[in-house]
Amino acid sequence: MADSTTAIVTIFTEFYFLLTIAMMFFIHVGFCMYEVGVARTKNVQHTLLKNAMAIPVVGLAFFLFGMWIYIALQGWPVASTSVSLATGFEPWSEKLAPNLQDRISGVFWGAFALFGMTAASIVSGSIIERAKTSGFLIIAVYVGAIAWVLPAAWGWAGNGWMTQYLGFHDQYCSAVLHSVAGFAALGILLHLGPRIGKFAPDGTPREIPAHNPWMVTVGLFFIYIGFIGFYAACHIPIANIAAEGQPAYWTATNIYGFPITLSGVTMNFLLALFGGMMAAYMVSGGNAFWTFSGGLTGLISASAGNDLYHPAVALAIAVVGTAMAYYLHNWVEKTFNIDDAVGAVAVHGYCGLFGGIVAGFALWGYPAIYPSAATFVALSEGAGWFGTNAQGLPIVTPWGNAICSLIFAIGFGFIPAYILGGILKAAGLLRVDPRVELTGLDGESSSTTYPQLSGAEAAFEALQRKESKI
């Protein structure tokens, strides 16, 4: 890079995304701790490995085809019917390997792959203690590398046809990722069924005690930290978005090329977190599980528009979304006997859908995109079916956001996952045998989870003393 401005912008962007990737791994630390904490001792190792293996499996699927879907299908089938096999994100692309002409594609890919792993992990928690790892990993490939990726291509890219023609806005993936994964979990749970003993004969849900509530608490805090990285990865950190011939205007932008401030985003992130925790604390009567999950319900409810909301609006949306999720979760659990072990359907599904729809009202009239050469966002011909602003840019509307959010949650989350769940069930890959469930999915390995409690440590100690001959 001969030009110093280009060098600074490129290397800053490269380093920025690298940091977001590192931060997003905390989401997985958190998910692992959370799920393991909720599981009973006899299922701890299985729960940990089931979740952890989603990371490499989804990552490899994302390398093979996930990222290509995002780049190649942004206009398909509405704005363009052609599909390229030369996007630069095919697994055989030179750009995804050390290449001195391209310093961004790899870190950009990494951030997206982490999004995909997060989506898969959302399903993981809801099905613990009775799901087979094999079935889960197949579900994970669908949810992590396909289900949310096509919605992202259509509605979470400045050049996506839903963004351009329907004015869809979902900056931090309320509907695009969370609602898809949450409703996919619901589709799977309908086939999977509840854990043995979860519901009394009259249908009353029973509390299955978490084996380590402190691990659950710390895990959720780690997810909060990872969420900051998730938010950061949804930006273009530095770009000159001025039109040709105009004075330079350097700024961070949202995913749609619209100028934003990280300062404003930070305020909204924190206020949504506060609102969610406080609302959950209130509606649940101080239930610790719900209070900490409330941080996530608040964030996910406000995420669709958290790039542009006032912090008070972010908090208000977080409060309403959290209360809705709490009551809806309890009603669905009781009415349909759905055993969602970590509340993923409510936290991600209901709040994600709610957040996507609410953003259409709160940001009504905002330009959905801001075209500029630096962000690669260009205005499509005929864009803005639901209206344009004075500049001719498509605008955000309640119907645009509602239609897209519902298509994502139901069309990409619930229905395909319900079908996939049925196929896996028929193939015997979804649920473990009741004898395995009762014994515990760790089987004989269970004694090594807490050897000081199971007696394994004492047994070895006795053996050691006997053989030492002292």
């Binding site: 093979l64 055989w92 050390p98 001195l100 094999s134 990993l137 045998d433 014994t439 004989e444």
Partner: protein, 63 residues
């Protein structure tokens, strides 16, 4: 064996900087096969593990 860069004389012209440049398609096929093999092995491994658990299952472990 020379499989990659041997000189950095013309830095601005250098793109791919890794060895075995030109074999990307073969790498892709290899990765896809590894991916499928992993899933197959996982299904087999889990079935074996569950068979062992079922074999040693007792309805009333306290007795």
């Amino acid at each position: 064996m020379n499989t990659g860069l041997t000189s950095l004389d013309k830095l601005p012209e250098i793109g791919a900087a890794y060895p075995f440049h030109g074999m990307e398609m073969a790498f892709t096929v290899g990765l896809a096969l590894f991916f499928i093999a992993f899933i197959m092995q996982q299904i087999y491994m889990e079935a074996t593990h569950h068979k062992e658990i079922i074999g040693s299952f007792t309805a009333s472990p306290a007795e």
